[in-house]
């Protein structure tokens, strides 16, 4: 909010130094900048009720600097004549919705255009000049903080009623806009029509014009939440709604009402009706405060004298010394933000100086150590980087198109965003693959072999519950699909060996070339390639393959601690064996059979080569390397040859191989 220095100066005894007060306010109250005699102040939302006015800000300036406030005089006389022009006012709403509804009636006014000085002031603060009466009520809002509303008394039918709107009821505002109401809005109405949308906007019917003679001034407090939701619902934001939704103190309303009455009386004349309604006495706002709380919360040792000086500046008075160092403090009624001892400490400490808080180490035993998977995630990340994959960034939101392309990776129902920023970000990711694939495509221009990975949250609905968990995925983008397969498979083997998890690939989705990664009949992830159709759809020139693993599952399955294996004492001896075998027999089958027979001294088998002869489409040539080793001695050639014969026999009998 912007304030001209000379508008504030009227309410302070000492001269304001703009540059200096801006600095002080920034450190003690609100972020403030100063330029060309104008203070631009970012008033905090909870201080709007007491500070968003000339008087309120003058009080704040006097609290943080050496200055004193002068309040404008309230001086008007109520008429002694008995005039039968009073109007019945009915408040039909509960006190939590409309806690206070004050008003004042003034008759026989000569309304006119505003003087230049007032008109200029209002223009600076963003108000149009309407006529003297309306301009004065806007001025009082700026000066004292409370939004008041003036109705033309002669245009009101029978009575004033504060009620909620009927569903579908129409309201015509002063600027000729029609609103159809839903039925929960607070309105000010007469016997026939809605006169105003309470706290938000005035209506056309009883609007004040230059011809207005008799007026009804409303000063009310409305429930901030009601004003906020109506203003949001109808999308009307006005200076008044902005203030009401942050809360208005009833004392400010009374003061504003008196101030406006004074200004009208002195500038436009008129007869003020006697009104007991606006002569209410408010109870003191009292908070019990323990002086020790200052030290407890801030760690600052403030002397009692200093405490007394500070609360005096804030307009807080000590009502009673309760017990030792426990006080009953009387808080100014307009300070809606002060409600407990924390609030009082905040006030004291900011005036005292937040810069006087010295950093201090806090020492206590913090022996709770929740078990989470950070270490495992770090391990996975490092392991994958070591294997030359680069970590990508991903947004956690994906598009409808991503959903349709990668639907088979979804394990439940997708989580849809109710109010998405755009179609591109309308679902929470249920797999890391859509964004990894996008990352590969965006790098295609500049790089050829792209290897990326990501560890992030995925989420989906399952049995009406939201499941949110970490996922782990790698992807390779490259021209040659065989290379991608071998690299992905090699890496997956390496990782699963490291984690000591057995797994098998089983075809999951033929059309998409997706394999399920299975462990003990449990699906722990997906291994897949994008087919030509998808590659075309997403505009990729290269092939893309990926592996995605359920991070929580592999974390649970993995061996947590590694155990040392003694180093072998005797050398291992290597023999290679090449043979032809039926093409349909998978390498996995060969290995399974070899491992199911106990061959002496055989420690390890390793696939060295697969070759598909062009002249025979039914067979393939496979080369295996066998490692033999004994824990007791160095093996002889003869022993190894015997073992090899045994292996050959097994393979011949069970898989019908032919030695090359």
């Amino acid at each position: 909010m912007k304030f001209r220095i000379h508008d504030l100066q009227n309410y302070l005894t000492k001269k304001i130094n703009g540059e200096k007060i801006a600095q002080t306010l920034t450190l003690k109250s609100f972020e403030t900048t100063y330029k060309n005699n104008v203070l631009d102040i970012d008033i905090l939302p909870n201080r709007f009720s007491d500070c968003a006015s000339f008087i309120g800000l003058a009080k704040e300036i006097s609290a943080v600097s050496d200055n004193n406030v002068v309040l404008p005089k309230i001086n008007f006389l109520e008429t002694k004549q008995k005039i039968n022009k009073n109007i019945k006012v009915i408040n039909r709403l509960q006190s939590n919705i409309v806690p206070y509804y004050f008003y004042r009636i003034i008759l026989n006014i000569n309304n006119k255009k505003s003087e230049t000085k007032l008109a200029d002031l209002l223009n600076f603060y963003g108000f149009n000049n309407i006529n003297y009466l309306v301009d004065l009520s806007n001025f009082v809002m700026l000066e004292c903080g409370a939004p008041l509303h003036i109705f033309d008394l002669d245009k009101i039918d029978e009575f004033i009623e504060v009620r909620t709107a009927y569903q579908g009821e129409r309201f015509l505002s002063f600027d000729d806009k029609e609103y159809i109401l839903q039925g929960n809005e607070i309105v000010i109405a007469d016997a026939k029509d809605i006169l105003a949308l309470a706290g938000i906007k005035g209506g056309k019917k009883a609007a004040v014009t230059l011809q207005t003679k008799n007026i009804f001034i409303e000063g009310a407090v409305f429930n901030p939440a009601s004003i906020y939701s109506t203003s949001k619902q109808l999308n009307i934001k006005t200076e008044a709604s902005f203030r009401f939704e942050k809360g208005i103190a009833p004392t400010s309303v009374i003061y504003s009402l008196d101030r406006l009455t004074t200004l009208i009386y002195n500038n436009l004349g008129g007869d003020i009706l006697i009104n007991k309604n606006a002569q209410i006495k408010f109870n003191d706002k009292i908070i019990n405060f323990n002086f020790e709380e200052i030290y407890n919360l801030s760690g600052c040792k403030i002397e009692f004298n200093e405490f007394q000086n500070i609360i005096k500046k804030l307009g807080i008075t000590i009502k009673r010394n309760h017990r030792n160092k426990i006080f009953q403090l009387i808080i100014p009624n307009e300070r809606l933000d002060i409600n407990n001892s924390y609030d009082i400490v905040e006030e004291i400490i900011r005036i005292y100086g937040l810069d006087k808080i010295t950093p201090k180490f806090e020492c206590f035993e913090n022996n709770i150590s929740p078990k989470q998977n950070f270490e495992f995630i770090d391990f996975l990340r490092n392991f994958t980087i070591k294997s030359s994959f680069t970590e990508s960034f991903s947004y956690n939101l994906i598009s409808e198109k991503d959903l349709s392309i990668f639907k088979s990776l979804l394990n439940g129902k997708p989580i849809k965003i109710y109010n998405p920023l755009s179609e591109n970000y309308s679902f929470f990711q249920f797999s890391l693959i859509p964004n990894l694939v996008k990352a590969i495509i965006s790098n295609q221009k500049n790089f050829t072999d792209i290897k990326l990975f990501n560890i992030e949250k995925i989420a989906f609905w399952q049995n009406n519950k939201i499941i949110e968990k970490y996922s782990y995925a790698i992807a390779i983008g490259k021209k040659n699909i065989d290379d991608i397969f071998l690299e992905l498979k090699g890496f997956l083997n390496l990782l699963m060996n490291e984690l000591k998890i057995d797994y098998l690939l089983s075809i999951q989705d033929n059309e998409n070339f997706y394999f399920a990664i299975m462990h003990n009949k449990k699906n722990i992830g997906t291994f897949g390639f994008l087919n030509k159709y998808v590659l075309n759809l997403i505009d990729s020139d290269i092939n893309i393959g990926f592996v995605e693993l359920d991070l929580d599952l592999i974390y649970d399955l993995s061996k947590k601690e590694k155990i040392f294996n003694p180093l072998p004492q005797f050398p291992s001896i290597i023999r290679d064996l090449s043979f032809f075998i039926n093409r349909k027999i998978s390498v996995h089958q060969i290995e399974k059979i070899l491992l199911s027979h106990k061959v002496d001294y055989l420690k390890k088998i390793e696939l060295k080569d697969i070759y598909l002869p062009l002249d025979n489409k039914d067979t393939k040539s496979v080369t295996y390397r066998f490692y033999f080793q004994s824990d007791e001695r160095t093996l002889t050639d003869e022993e190894i040859n015997q073992c090899l014969v045994k292996i050959i026999n097994i393979l011949k009998n069970q898989l019908n191989i032919e030695i090359r």
């Binding site: 905090l44 939440a225 801030s298 810069d355 970590e391 920023l421």
Partner: protein, 338 residues
Amino acid sequence: MLKDILKNILDQGKKDILMCRTLEELENIKIKYLSRKSELMSLSKNFSQLKPNEKKEIGNLFNLVKNTLIKTYEEQKQRLDKISINFDPEHPGKQINIGREHLLTNSLVKIRNIFINLGFNIYDYHQIVNEKENFDYLNIPRNHPARDLWDTLWIENKNKKSDYLLRTHTTAFQHYILTKYRPPLRFATIGKVFRYEATDKSHDFEFYQIDALSLSETTNLQNLKYTIEKFFINFFHKDIKIRFRPSYFPFVEPGLEVDINCIFCNNKKCATCKFSGWIEVAGAGMIHPSVLAQAKIDYKKYRGFAFGIGIDRLIMLKHNINDIRILHSSDLRFINQF
């Protein structure tokens, strides 16, 4: 005269030959000292003009120089033959492909470690939370204007707005921690938050925050200042000073804005700090008694501090990145720089 020249040639020649590090260099040196056009060989042409007694002496010396140089050359050649490999030292070598960590994750891990060192437990919490955790428990009731401070992305269920949302701040973990664990406690969480917000150079709808809280019978604002200051010193590896300013967050009281002295100009005022000398980096305060009460914690006995820091901007400041969209990218031209 001639004697001195020969001796010089011998000394210099031996030295040059032994200095050779490649066979190629050695051959060049051989040409310099032992070819027909070399200084040594051209000297021999003048021998005929010498007196006979000089001729003998010089001749012997000449032969000695020549033979010594040849011998040195042969020895050096043998030595180089053994050690030299044929390569071009200027060749860039084979390109090694390595994987790299994303700058963001790398920074998140560093930040996590700083908090562990400051004595905090790190707790990873959901990104999808309910309305209560994100707002109500934090003293931000429905229809409160304070909700406008956090533009929210809501989750849909059965074609309607549900009670679930993408957390708008990591502070959403607070109620869970306060109800699950008993004081004294010290916790921090690091992660993504989401806002319904248009994207530009300095805003994105997904970004990272850290939230920390400490709760004990003695926790106060001094401890808060210590923790925040130490965090920034460790993050920037610089002597950072922090400044508190009054602010408002519904879940803390007092509410504070935290500034650090500008790391670029050291309070001398520059464009980065908008000529103020300070950069706003965090929101902080003492946990509001009603937040503690909601978690059934005796707020007369226990006090706590809490603060939240936006991480992306700190990383951008530290590494001089001027567009958050680059930080939030998978562009390998960016990732490979770190």
